[in-house]
């Protein structure tokens, strides 16, 4: 096992714990927006698509990478906007005192 791989695994394992920890107390009403928000976050795959697209040599790689960039961008842009539209509705609530 290389040092790079071990570092990656370290980051992975720590991220697993953080991922579980940060959403362990979510009210049901936020399940949908939270799913949508995390959905946008895995759009980070766009970065991978960019790295491939920016260094692709063959036409096939370019084609695959291009579609990947389009897909990743849709995931990021659409994901954050849809989440915001959902959450916008909570904000327009009458200003009753929040318990949290």
């Amino acid at each position: 096992m290389t040092m790079t791989l071990l570092n990656s695994i370290t980051v992975f394992v720590l991220a697993v714990f953080i991922g579980i920890e940060i959403i362990s107390k979510v009210p049901t009403m936020l399940h949908t927006p939270l799913m949508s928000g995390t959905n946008a976050i895995h759009g980070i795959v766009l970065i991978g698509a960019m790295l491939i697209a920016g260094s692709a040599d063959s036409d096939l790689e370019k084609a695959l990478a291009f579609v990947a960039v389009v897909f990743g961008t849709i995931n990021v842009v659409g994901g954050f906007l849809v989440t915001d539209r959902m959450l916008e509705m909570f904000k327009r609530k009458p200003s009753k005192p929040e318990s949290e």
Binding site: A15, P27, A53, G78, F80
Partner: protein
């Protein structure tokens, strides 16, 4: 083209660290109502930082492909996110999730194609991650598309099953493992292509037999899948931002899936392979027995009188309310009733609508005060003291068979005990069964009355009639 400005790998990784912190803070804030909206934007800023600095990576030597692709994706993303109706949000999330998975699979395919011509260059570490990313990404892509089709009602929402389905899925799964081993050991492109195609098929087969009522859990699971696919793409490219972002979603998405499953009293294995898959037999039997039972119809005027002179009314919203966009009319009705001194509460089943929290979003849009919304566990003890339970377009979540009939495919799912109210008024378009394709015994109870019609126009009629009462 040469890079405009290349930053060192260390500098870029530092910006990824900043981005990762923003993503984590963002998700954390998304978990609490007052901070949720800002959390979403904090995460978006983190994402923007990561994307911007990736442009400055020394490996990125050509920009036009990326820029054109991002322009196309941005237009599609903005247009679809802006135009989608509130009711269609769940399938939109499914679609965005699917393309994310697709991107991860394409990255794996492109990387495989780049490295494969030089046998021996694939290190054991990265080829494993590559195959995993391709496999899971493809499953998530096609599975999400099927979920989208079911929710959009392009495909039938009921479970699609056939004899030997689980055996076939098992064989397909083993075949995929075999293809993965073949692709990894021979480094021949053909095996990779077959693996990706097989995974696409597997995604379809995985979601087809799952009924519409379970779709939220499935989308959440596929969301976690895409996260893992992105994380493994990060292993392939040795990119920390991808590993962190993908893993956060993989882990939190898995937990969210478990929480949702728990709310329905069903394990994930049960959702994927379980009771609803076997529903057709029970569903048919239930449909046949419909003929023997009778239901009572009520006019809007009669129902309005019942409501106007009640002391306690509980509104039970469901997907029918969302489809009809009846939330504002419902708010108006509730205001009228409250003005008459009626105590009005809303009973929110964890999976009412198409996704957990779906009803909260809709009612919040109509500015229904949050304290009036009650979770299942809080409202269920109230039903025996309730004069009228007003069921608006909710079905499966009120089916007493889930509580009383061990034969029912729904058995074991916690429900709202609306049948315990003195009167139940059910607003519904017709007697057709709910999204799970199962007949609802509630409609045939002696204290139940049906008010047929589109939820919005029915509620508007009630509003007019209550004003007159």
């Amino acid at each position: 083209m040469t890079p405009v400005l290349a930053l060192s790998q260390t500098a870029i990784n530092f910006t990824y660290l900043v981005a990762a912190v923003l993503l984590i803070v963002g998700i954390r804030r998304l978990s609490s109502p007052p901070t949720a909206r800002s959390g979403n934007w904090i995460a978006a800023v983190g994402m923007a930082i990561a994307i911007f600095f990736t442009f400055l990576d020394e490996d990125v030597t050509s920009y036009w492909l990326i820029l054109v692709g991002m322009a196309v994706g941005t237009v599609i993303g903005i247009v679809s996110a802006r135009l989608v109706k509130m009711t269609a949000m769940p399938q939109m999330v499914a679609l965005f999730n699917g393309v994310g998975g697709g991107a991860a699979a394409l990255i794996a395919a492109a990387e495989f194609h780049r490295i494969a011509p030089e046998p021996g260059h694939l290190s054991g570490d990265s080829v494993g991650a590559m195959l995993f990313s391709g496999l899971i990404g493809s499953v998530s892509f096609s599975g999400s598309l099927v979920a989208f089709g079911k929710l959009q009602e392009v495909l039938p929402g009921r479970p699609i099953t056939f004899a030997g389905q689980q055996v076939m899925n098992g064989i397909l799964f083993v075949a995929l493992l075999g293809l993965g081993v073949a692709a990894g050991s021979t480094e021949e492109g053909i095996w990779m292509v077959l693996l990706l195609l097989g995974a696409l098929l597997f995604g379809v087969m995985l979601v087809l037999p799952i009924g519409g009522a379970d779709m939220p859990v499935v989308i959440s699971l596929l969301n976690a899948f895409t996260g893992l696919a992105a994380a493994s793409a990060g292993f392939v490219l040795e990119n920390t931002a991808l590993i962190i972002g993908g893993t956060l979603v993989g882990a939190s998405g898995t937990l969210l899936t478990v929480l949702m499953g728990r709310a329905m009293n069903r394990s994930i294995a049960n959702v994927l392979f379980g009771a609803f898959g076997a529903a057709p037999a029970g569903g048919l039997a239930a449909a046949a027995s419909t003929d023997g039972k009778s239901y009572r119809e009520v006019t809007a005027d009669d129902a309005a009188v019942m409501l106007a002179y009640a002391q306690r009314v509980v509104v039970v919203p469901g997907y029918g309310l969302a489809v009809a966009q009846a939330q504002h009319a419902v708010r108006e009705l509730a205001d009228l009733l409250e003005a008459r001194g009626v105590d009005v509460k809303y009973a929110i089943h964890p999976v009412a609508g198409r996704m957990p929290g779906h009803m909260n979003v809709l009612l919040a849009e109509a500015q229904v005060p949050y304290p009036q919304l009650y979770d299942m566990d809080d409202i269920n003890p109230e039903f025996p003291r309730t004069d009228v339970a007003l069921v608006i377009g909710a079905n499966d979540v009120t089916n007493p068979a889930a509580r009383d009939n061990p034969e029912s495919p729904l058995y074991g799912m916690p429900i709202l005990n609306v049948d315990q109210a003195a009167n139940v008024v059910i607003l519904k378009r017709s007697m057709s069964p709910g999204f799970a394709g199962i007949d609802n015994d509630l409609f045939y109870e002696p204290n139940s009355a049906m008010l047929f019609g589109d939820a919005k126009s029915s509620v508007e009629k009630l509003v007019a009639a209550v004003k007159a009462a």
